[in-house]
Symmetry: C2
Subunit: 222 residues, 2 copies
């Protein structure tokens, strides 16, 4: 691998999904910067991750400035405020939004925001200069974090095909099959599925249910 | 099997999904009535199906009256009109809605109706006396019709748990794994997935992609 890998900023990088993704991408050779509301927590989390290259922690805005690709892994309750915080830093960049609009206490019931989905809300808020790509909603965060095997495809939706392909490659770098799921409007499927998976985990006592797309893929972009 | 199986009315029963489901349920011993706007077409289709018990064809309203469980398999463009037509006939019954709100020409882009999903629109239109259950959106209609093996789970959503279990049993009767997906609000996931599967079929040249829920199910209702 001779190409220079892009710097990944993980916003909300101290959570289960954020730190888990950071650990896997760092192991795959990507420079990673963790962002957090609490820069010291981000620093401490970064020190706990061993990567091929540099890993550091800072506040969310500084991480977004430093990142070439910005990954948002925050609870829905903080989604809007954090997007507003990083907006000045992400123009022209790919923003990977992993957010699921879970609204406690009924997290097993789909409740989409008025924009149609969390990712559509992000795109509207960040503006056209940002290529929002929705992904990683359905992978069990605790499995990512613990480094367990993950029996789950990653539906990748976004209005820019090249950006979707970049995210599919990022999924492949950590052993996940990313699937081109089309335009950002399609993100609602992955976001809604997470509530269903939470319900399935409870109802059928599954440890981290996931989804797979079936069928013989004659062509693939990953 | 000594219990008496309920009569199933398939509204839009001459289409690929409707006639395919009818064929499989008839083979499993269910009495089936096909409904169509054109009663003669329904009659002809019924004669082409060999079942364990009676199969007949008639108009949609008559089929809905005769059915103990009513299955709606119509294009989204006819959804509202046909629901209004059968509404007087379905009070107190389970209505299984298989409808996906596909809006040509962009059928690979998710476009939910203002009610949030086709099934939520059906529930609102039919009223509280009807138990709407959403299911079968993701199974490839042509595979159902041809009797091919289907590598796809059936997400079953509805506000009444007993009704969901009835539909899970109906899926099991034709060899499909139905999964309790929670309240009717969750139907948006299955409806949206169909547009994604259509896109995947095109993009990756798959013959009828489907979905599977992964993970070890410790308990199961089917």
């Amino acid at each position: 691998m001779t190409e220079k890998l892009p710097v990944l900023a993980i916003i909300g990088g101290t959570g289960a999904l954020g730190s888990g993704l950071a650990t896997r991408w760092a192991a795959a050779g990507y420079p990673v910067i963790l962002g957090s509301r609490d820069p010291e927590k981000a620093s401490a989390a970064a020190q706990g991750i061993s990567g091929v290259v540099a890993i550091s922690g800072t506040d969310n805005r500084s991480a977004a400035i430093a990142g070439e690709i910005v990954v948002v892994t925050v609870p829905f309750a903080s989604h809007r405020a954090i997007l507003e915080e990083i907006r000045p830093a992400v123009s022209g960049k790919i923003v990977i939004d992993t957010t699921v609009p879970l609204m406690p206490p009924k997290v097993a019931t789909v409740q989409m925001p008025p924009e149609g989905s969390a990712s559509l809300a992000a795109q509207r808020l960040l503006g056209e200069q940002v290529r929002v790509v929705s992904a990683f909603q359905n992978v069990a965060a605790h499995k990512i974090q613990k480094g367990e095997a993950i029996d789950c495809d990653v539906l990748v939706a976004g209005d820019d095909k090249a950006a979707r392909e970049t995210v599919i490659a990022l999924a492949a770098a950590i052993g996940l099959r990313g699937i081109d799921a089309g335009p950002l409007a399609n993100s609602v499927a992955a976001e809604a599925l997470t509530s269903i998976l939470i319900g399935i985990n409870r109802r059928y006592k599954v440890d981290g249910a996931g989804i797979r797309i079936t069928g013989r893929f004659a062509t693939t972009t990953d």
